[in-house]
């Protein structure tokens, strides 16, 4: 449902069915709603059969990259020689995204069930659920659910532990997350080796996003074919996706739709459209790291992995940030780059320097001291920040800058030419 709103008839409610239903949080309440039936089934299945089913469903990672989940699981060594680990990425920190938070707040057992099924599939004995430090409420709810499930001895030999982060966006990057579990600074690692060969504690590891894992019990219950049929456009994008909508929108919240759903309908029908008297100016469809779209592009985008790429952006984590005609795109772009400057782990020069200088130049423009050469300078910096670093944080900072200058160049030029009043002090 479009939590905190009532579900809309055009939503496909699978993962969010029990959002807002406090009874679903308890083990008793969850079992009453059919919870943990698939766990028992999965633990009795051959791990390869579980992987095959998920592979056939077409499920792709919901954290942002969209990598096929079953394929990722199949990269784990077939012959087990070392300990295997599962890491669950609940470090949801991508501006615009707040879906995993709702999953953990309302259906903690759904995540535990998906986690243990995945751990079984990849033959892991231990699963760490890495929850961002600021998520105090989801953490408490997950702790209670885990204690209940452990007391009922539901997980067989598989152990699940919660690991609290401490305020670092970069720990959502898979190898940074692993370093953080190991008690290190959250610096991303150079790949290869990939996690399936050498992940957390140097052992074969799979890492999955929260939303990805909660889809797994539904796939086992209803079958891969059922999941594959949840598709409105490209057959490579199957299933439902939670979309978090925020910013200048009448009804912000989480909406669950079948992949391929028109972004336009999501905005104007499900999420209630613009605020009274306002019109759409821009939209970032997949969390702050993906390029922004103008109104025309937004209104013709289909929400799936391919549909977003077709418009020059990405589905990412499904965090939809809406900007109406009152938004100052220059200021908001600076606000986004400031986020990346703050969150850079500072390992790579292009990122450490690039995010900081991009922000400083944008601040200079907003203070009325921009130069005509600044836009070219920003684009040149962005070029040097893309595809040249250990992880993609640097690229993610460049994306809003390049896309904003491309689509809203006039707004930048207005500040530089003195046609617009400076909003920052010099």
């Amino acid at each position: 449902m479009g939590f905190p709103h009532k579900p809309h008839a055009r939503e496909t409610v699978v993962l969010s069915k029990y959002f807002g239903d406090a009874e679903a949080r308890s083990l008793k309440g969850w079992k009453k709603r059919g919870g943990y039936e698939m766990l028992d089934k999965a633990l009795g299945m051959d791990p390869n059969a579980v992987i095959e089913e998920v592979k056939n469903s077409g499920l792709r990672g919901r954290g942002g990259a969209g990598f096929p989940t079953g394929l990722k699981w199949s990269f784990m060594p077939k012959e087990k020689k070392k300990a295997h680990y599962l890491c669950v990425n609940a470090d949801e920190s991508e501006p615009g995204t707040f879906k995993d938070r709702e999953i953990m707040r309302w259906t903690p057992h759904a995540l535990l069930e998906g986690t243990v099924i995945a751990a079984h599939a990849i033959r892991a004995e231990i699963a760490y659920i890495y929850i961002r430090g600021e998520f105090t409420e989801p953490l408490t709810i997950m702790e209670q659910a885990l204690a209940e499930a452990n007391a009922a001895k539901l997980f067989g030999k598989i152990k699940v532990y919660l690991h609290r982060g401490a305020g670092a966006y970069i720990c959502g990057e898979e190898t940074a997350l692993m370093n953080s579990i190991e008690g290190k600074r959250g610096n991303p690692r150079i790949k290869p080796p990939f996690p399936a060969a050498s992940g957390v504690f140097g052992m074969p590891t799979t890492i999955n996003n929260v939303e990805t894992l909660v889809a797994v019990p539904h796939i086992l219950k209803n079958g891969a074919d059922w999941y594959k049929k949840l598709c409105l456009s490209n057959p490579k994008s199957t299933g439902t996706k939670l979309l978090s909508i925020c910013g200048h929108i009448a009804k912000p919240g989480n909406y669950e739709v079948t992949l391929g759903f028109p972004l336009k309908d999501l905005l104007y029908e499900l999420a209630g459209g613009m605020r009274p008297g306002r019109t759409l100016k821009a939209c970032i469809p997949g969390g702050s790291s993906v390029p922004m779209l103008n109104r025309e592009e937004t209104e013709s985008t289909l929400l799936d992995y391919e549909g977003c790429v077709e418009k020059g952006t990405m589905l990412g984590s499904g965090g939809v940030i809406v900007f109406d005609d009152t938004a100052d795109m220059v200021y908001q772009t600076m606000r986004l780059t400031r986020f990346y400057a703050h969150e850079s782990c500072a390992q790579c020069t292009q990122c450490r320097e690039g995010t900081a200088w991009t922000t400083k130049i944008l601040e200079r423009i907003l203070a009325g001291q921009g130069k005509t050469s600044d836009l070219d300078l920003l684009l040149e910096l962005a070029e040097n920040m893309t595809g040249k670093t250990i992880c993609v944080l640097s690229d993610s900072c460049a994306a809003p800058v390049v896309s904003a200058i491309k689509r809203f160049r006039g707004e930048f030029e207005d500040y530089i030419a003195g046609r617009r009043k400076p909003v920052l002090a010099a």
């Binding site: 905190p4 300990a83 949801e92 920190s93 991508e94 501006p95 615009g96 995204t97 707040f98 938070r101 961002r132 430090g133 600021e134 998520f135 105090t136 409420e137 152990k159 532990y161 690991h163 609290r164 982060g165 401490a166 305020g167 670092a168 966006y169 953080s180 579990i181 190991e182 008690g183 290190k184 600074r185 959250g186 504690f201 978090s244 909508i245 925020c246 910013g247 200048h248 912000p252 919240g253 989480n254 702050s288 965090g319 940030i321 900007f323 938004a327 908001q332 606000r335 986004l336 400031r338 986020f339 703050h342 969150e343 782990c345």
Partner: protein
């Protein structure tokens, strides 16, 4: 356990004794090595002491078999660990883009005024509040979210700030 103190400082009372040591030992069973318990150990220190001093870092280092410099490297990486004492209530206000669009900066200004903190990072003269601006709290649909200590408060508007400030003595 013994911890060496820099000359001229107050005697240091270790955190990891009695039930807190038991709590740490339980945490250690979750990981294949002691270093991995660093983040949870630091959270324990902050829960008990309100912040993480150099002496606490030295204690954690000793307990986990790593160096104080290493511990400091980790503490300084993560923004939620306090390296200095803070007010009785630590307030974190999200001002990243989605919340920014919804007026987060006005919430921040109202909080700085009502709490008496005056400026970001400062503590109010009565010692009640330290207010900081943070990047994305992950609740963008409930703008503006704030964290007061461990209380996550959604949909804060400037008008609601006075009442929130009144609640935290």
């Amino acid at each position: 356990m013994s911890v060496t103190h820099p000359e001229g400082t107050e005697p240091y009372e270790p955190v990891f004794e009695g039930h807190r040591l038991e709590e740490l030992n339980k945490l250690l069973t979750r990981y294949p090595n002691r270093q991995a318990a660093l983040l949870p150990a630091l959270w324990l220190v902050q829960r008990e002491r309100g912040w993480i001093s150099d002496q606490s870092m030295a204690e954690v280092a000793e307990v986990l078999g790593i160096t104080p410099a290493y511990v400091k490297g980790v503490v300084t990486f993560y923004t939620m660990y306090h390296q200095h004492p803070v007010g009785r209530h630590f307030v974190q206000i999200c001002t990243t883009s989605p919340c920014n669009l919804c007026g987060a900066e006005d919430v921040m200004k109202a909080f700085l005024k009502e709490s008496g903190a005056g400026e970001l990072g400062a503590t109010s003269p009565d010692g009640r509040f330290t207010v900081i601006e943070v990047e994305c709290l992950g609740a963008c649909g409930f703008a503006t979210p704030i964290l007061v200590d461990d209380d996550f408060i959604e949909s804060v508007t400037p008008e609601k700030v006075k009442e929130i400030v009144r609640k935290y003595l």
